[in-house]
Symmetry: C2
Subunit: 343 residues, 2 copies
DNA sequence: CTGAAAGCGCTTACAG
DNA sequence: CTGAAAGCGCTTACAG
């Protein structure tokens, strides 16, 4: 007969034995699922401490059909905003004792999408947060069973019952109005691909132009390769009607500035350039970048909070919270890269 | 009697029934754990497809004592390098069908560390990758049971049996030697806090100085707040002996440049400044930044690969792979921010 | 090659 | 308030 091998990690049975109670009683103690007499509580508490017991996530997940975890479905996973959002979700999840997972949708083909989402779901996450940055995220969202708590980050208002959105459109409008308010007769917009939703920075630009009675007829979509933006900046430098540029993000903004300067233009004297995101380097750039600051970490935390409310309600057997769409406001940061037109 | 409620997600029993075989047979088919006759294979395959069956991660994890997942233990979770590494690990993990989790150590006190790591372990990850950027990561590593596959990213050579390291020290030396090779008599080093290891950029700077017979006596540690670096740049501007600066990262580099210029210095004519990391904006900065490029995404992938080898060996009941330390090389990118001194 | 049985570590009715 | 029993969805010896 094999010697009883020393089990390294204690399990619930060990604490039950040590405390002199049954396993279900320990479980009840742990989950507050029923009253446990004070003396047993005491013993159990001691046993747990003594053993350094921690309940198994996976055994719980199997019994409960749900794991104490959130998983983030995302694309554009190396982009700045994405990483900040993830970080916010992770820290909020950790605070609640939830595990945090992420599976990115980058480079996934349509045919792989279903099995990818299926795999995520087969780990029984208590909830999932999908971060919308392109069409595939929206498709992924549709594959999530209706009964699992979910919140959508981004998207169009109404794309999902629970949403937290950055104020992209309002922000885009705000930046554009700042430029217009400075006296510019037109604002050219340069942006990377945007999500398929009605809350984009680009739409905000259109809003502002429309409100000013101006045609929103000059926008350029560029790639994420900064050289492309720089090249575009060079071209725009030769168009005297271009006096104000609103770039969809700070990186694009600085590349445009560089291109403008390659051709002898000065910023902001000859042309004003505003960015978006307020990345770390933006305040250091020369000239310091006028931009729109979004706290994406906070946005991630808000998304988790909204998810957690659903999870709790579901566990308590209560009705799901009211559908809601929370907007996280950002703020315009006016620095040196924008100014009134010269003449 | 309750009507048989329609089960939404199929389980292995459903597959077995539909295929007309026993549950263990399906399991063997799935895991290749034993021969299964061709006709049954066929039937099982069909049943799986028909049902859209995916094995439960958690049930497997409970039975196997191990989940098909990796979790990343990290600090400085919003820093650029960290996010890139995570992204690399995630994509490699996904390719192998592994779930990816991250729990950050930011803001965790020493007393919370044990329970935090304990919680991670109680989800039975197949392996964990710890990314060393400060002392707490090293402590966390020590709390991981010896029998769970682990790889350390960073650290000193020898800190763990399995390591993948960026060539930080060699890189730091390389950058410094570039500056020295240009003819500078001294290279001042400015860096943020670095991990407690012998592979830092700062040590590389010392190496180069020593090799050149120069005292490595001018270095400054600054915070992550770029204003601090800018302020330092202003101060250094007034010291004529400062002709070359090696900043520990690109963000610090551009802030230093900004500060230098605030006081009328030109880069690189008056002082050369090199950075480290080759972030997106570095090639766009004016002057384009000389820097050292590390592919952190690739480094993350390499870390997962090394982990996966351990996991596979363990599952196959084989001996663990030889301890190893893989260095991921980076490369010096010479651009415009460095030049020969004027004298 | 293949089933019946037992077990992974929990939780939840079911009876006291 | 508290045990004994059954079950969550798998896997792994154990016998054929």
């Amino acid at each position: 007969m094999p010697p009883t091998t020393t089990r390294n990690t204690p399990v619930i049975k060990d604490v039950a034995r040590l405390a002199g109670v049954s396993v279900p009683t320990v479980s009840r103690y742990l989950n507050g699922t029923a009253r446990v007499s004070d003396d047993k509580r005491e013993k159990i508490a001691q046993a747990i401490k003594l053993l350094g017991y921690q309940p198994s996530f996976v055994a719980r997940a199997l019994a409960n059909k749900v794991m104490d975890s959130v998983t983030m479905l995302t694309s554009l996973s190396t982009f700045w905003a994405t990483t900040q959002i993830n970080s916010g979700v992770e820290s909020a999840a950790r605070d609640k004792g939830f595990l945090f997972g992420v599976t990115s949708l980058d480079g996934i083909s349509d045919s792989e999408l279903e099995s990818t989402v299926g795999r995520v779901m087969s780990a029984n996450p208590a909830g999932v947060i999908v971060s919308e940055s392109d069409e595939i995220a929206i498709q992924a969202m549709r594959l999530i069973p209706k009964d699992v708590p979910m919140v959508l980050v981004g998207g169009s208002r109404g794309d999902a019952p629970y949403q937290v959105m950055p104020s992209e459109r309002a922000g885009g409008r705000c930046v554009t109005e700042h430029l217009l308010g400075l006296g510019h007769q037109n604002v050219v917009h340069v942006h990377r691909a945007e999500g398929p939703n009605n809350n984009t920075r680009t739409l905000g630009w259109r809003d502002a132009m429309a409100a000013a009675g101006l045609p929103a007829n000059r926008s350029y979509q560029i790639s994420e390769h900064l050289e492309d933006s720089r090249e575009l900046g060079r071209r725009l430098a030769h168009d005297p009607s271009v006096t104000a540029l609103f770039a969809g993000n700070d990186e694009t903004a600085i590349a445009l500035i560089r291109g403008l300067r390659d051709e002898g233009k000065r910023v902001p004297q000859d042309v004003s350039v505003a960015g978006y995101n307020d990345q770390l380097f933006s305040m250091i750039w020369e000239p310091a970048l006028t931009t729109y600051s979004q706290n994406f970490v906070e946005l991630g935390r808000a998304a988790f909070d909204m998810l957690y409310a659903q999870i709790e309600a579901k566990r308590a057997g209560q009705m799901a919270p009211e559908p809601q769409c929370r907007i996280i406001e950002g703020e315009l940061i006016v620095r040196e890269s924008t100014a009134a037109p010269r003449d």
